[in-house]
């Protein structure tokens, strides 16, 4: 092997060979559980004096892809890299140029905080031209490339990025007399679970249609929205209940939106949708109560749904409308309690049951359900002309 070729091989090998960083820095950032895929880029070179009055310049670039899965505190994955490097040697007695081509594959191991590239097979093909002579030779560099850490510097909305190889490259060149030049040593990883702008756009497009479909049930297809539900023609109660079931699921999706999705959608937009669900749920309950005979369980469930969705309650976004809805529910509950009232005989304590002071049978499960509901809602019930807090009718 000529002296020039040996120098070039040594130089090209340095471009690709890296050693582990001496001390791993603190890594508070980590990859979330799940599958990730990403890209690797490393651009570097070096230059320096060689021989007697000679000068070498080497520049190379590696790019690659990786895929990994985070399970607990472990990472498993694979990666592939390929790259090229150009070298030029100027010596007093002549010059030479060379090219190196690198291919490598390996495993991605380590931890979610510090993924580590482990090269399992790597080859450098070196071609050197000097005058009319060209020499090509393959070299196995697997052993020259120890594990290399990916330094995570940013994780946001399912995208992680950082650097790799830089410190190792500089460490490897230390003491050689060459001047290193790292132009880029970076990686970007994308979580398979990340929310994309396209998904957000889909949701933003779908939600108005979703509300419109609900409105079609309330006011008829194309009907004008009107919160005065009293004058509505008979509506499809089953369809309205289906909408409420869907609303509960949709509201749950909103709550499960991750920070990044909320960021992309916008808090104002989310609050607008949540308010819409509260309002439409309230309207649906009002319509069902106005047009149907409902039993105690339905009143109880509707009250829970209303309180859960903000259709009623002190924090409702539509306080006046919420008050109307809650009053309708209270009246239904009150009717059920009234229907169970006894005006004859005695109560459990031996007190006479009269028109003026009716008794509520303790074994009436429907009345009991409504009294329990009223007690937790802070409602009053009027029975036999007497108004008491719901809780007090329990012992009446």
């Amino acid at each position: 092997m000529s002296r020039r070729l040996a120098m070039l091989l040594a130089a090209l090998g340095l471009v690709f060979a890296v050693v582990p960083a001496a001390v791993a820095g603190h890594q508070p950032l980590r990859l979330d559980e799940g599958e990730w895929s990403g890209t690797l880029t490393f651009m570097a070179g070096f230059s320096g004096e060689v021989g007697e009055g000679g000068h070498v310049t080497v520049d190379g670039i590696q790019t690659g892809d990786f895929a990994l899965e985070v399970v607990g505190e472990e990472i498993t994955g694979i990666y592939a890299l390929s790259g090229t490097a150009d070298a030029a040697v100027d010596l007093p007695f002549g010059g030479a140029t060379g090219q190196g081509a690198f291919t490598g594959i390996g495993d991605v191991l380590g931890t979610p905080q510090v993924p580590v590239l482990h090269l399992t097979r790597g080859t450098v093909t070196v071609t050197v031209q000097t005058g009319s002579t060209e020499v090509t030779q393959d070299f196995d560099v697997t052993g020259l490339t120890p594990p290399t850490e990916l330094q995570i510097e940013r994780v946001h909305c399912g995208v992680a990025s950082g650097s790799w190889g830089r410190e190792e490259f500089l460490t490897n060149l230390a003491g050689t007399g060459f001047t290193p030049r790292v132009r880029q040593g970076s990686f970007t990883a994308f979580s398979e679970d990340r929310i994309t702008q396209e998904q957000v756009d889909d949701l933003v497009e779908v939600m108005p249609q979703w509300f419109r479909a609900w409105g079609d049930v309330l006011w008829g297809p194309g009907g004008a929205a009107d919160s005065d539900v009293g004058g509505l023609p008979p509506v499809d109660t089953g369809a309205l209940m289906d909408r409420m079931v869907d609303a509960v699921e949709t509201l749950n999706k909103f709550q499960n939106l991750k920070e990044c999705a909320r960021e992309l959608i916008g808090e104002d937009q989310i609050e607008e949708w949540e308010s819409g669900i509260a309002l439409f749920t309230g309207m649906s309950i009002q319509v069902i109560l106005a047009q149907n005979n409902v039993d105690a369980i339905m009143v109880d469930v509707f009250t829970r749904v209303a309180a859960s969705t903000g259709a009623i309650g002190e924090g409702s976004p539509e306080p006046e409308f919420a008050a109307t809805t809650e009053e309708m529910l209270r009246l239904e509950a009150e009717e059920i309690v009234q229907a169970s009232a006894q005006t004859e005989g005695t109560d459990g304590a031996g007190n006479a049951c009269t028109e003026a002071s009716p008794c509520i049978p303790p074994d009436d499960v429907d009345a009991g359900l409504m009294i329990g509901r009223g007690a937790r809602m802070g409602w009053d019930y009027t029975v036999g002309g007497e108004t008491r807090p719901a809780i007090e009718w329990a012992s009446a």
Partner: protein
Amino acid sequence: MGVGMRVTALLLLVGVLAGCGGADATPTTTTSGTAATTTTAETGTTTTTAGEVDEVDLPGVLGLPEITLLTPTSGGGTRPILEWEAVDGAAGYEVALSGPGGGIYWAGWATGTSIPVGGEPLIDPAYSGPSVSEGMTWSVAAYNADGYLLAVSAIRPIGP
């Protein structure tokens, strides 16, 4: 799907409900300020003071078994995890959070024995949604599969 099945669906679905609808406003706070234990002879309703808000013996009044509440009355932050002891045969539990005025503020449904205020999963403190403030109360009701009450807890004060 019939009405009964839809009610069942609502019963089940409200269990996974976020409960983050519009219930994100902080209620106007007024506290009773009472510090005494009172008993209403006529009804047998007994209230005992805990902090500045009365605790109501709902099980005693309704004649139902009592659900033991496990969450302290304060110290859990604005979205504490509300916990209680299990009731045999319960298909689910409704948690009601009432404002200082006694009116409902937020309700949640759980098939287990805990739920964060605002519903599962816990809403990030940075986001709007139901939260606890001074003068609030909470209670739990256990339901059987038919939608009737099995047991209830006392109505107990809770603050941040």
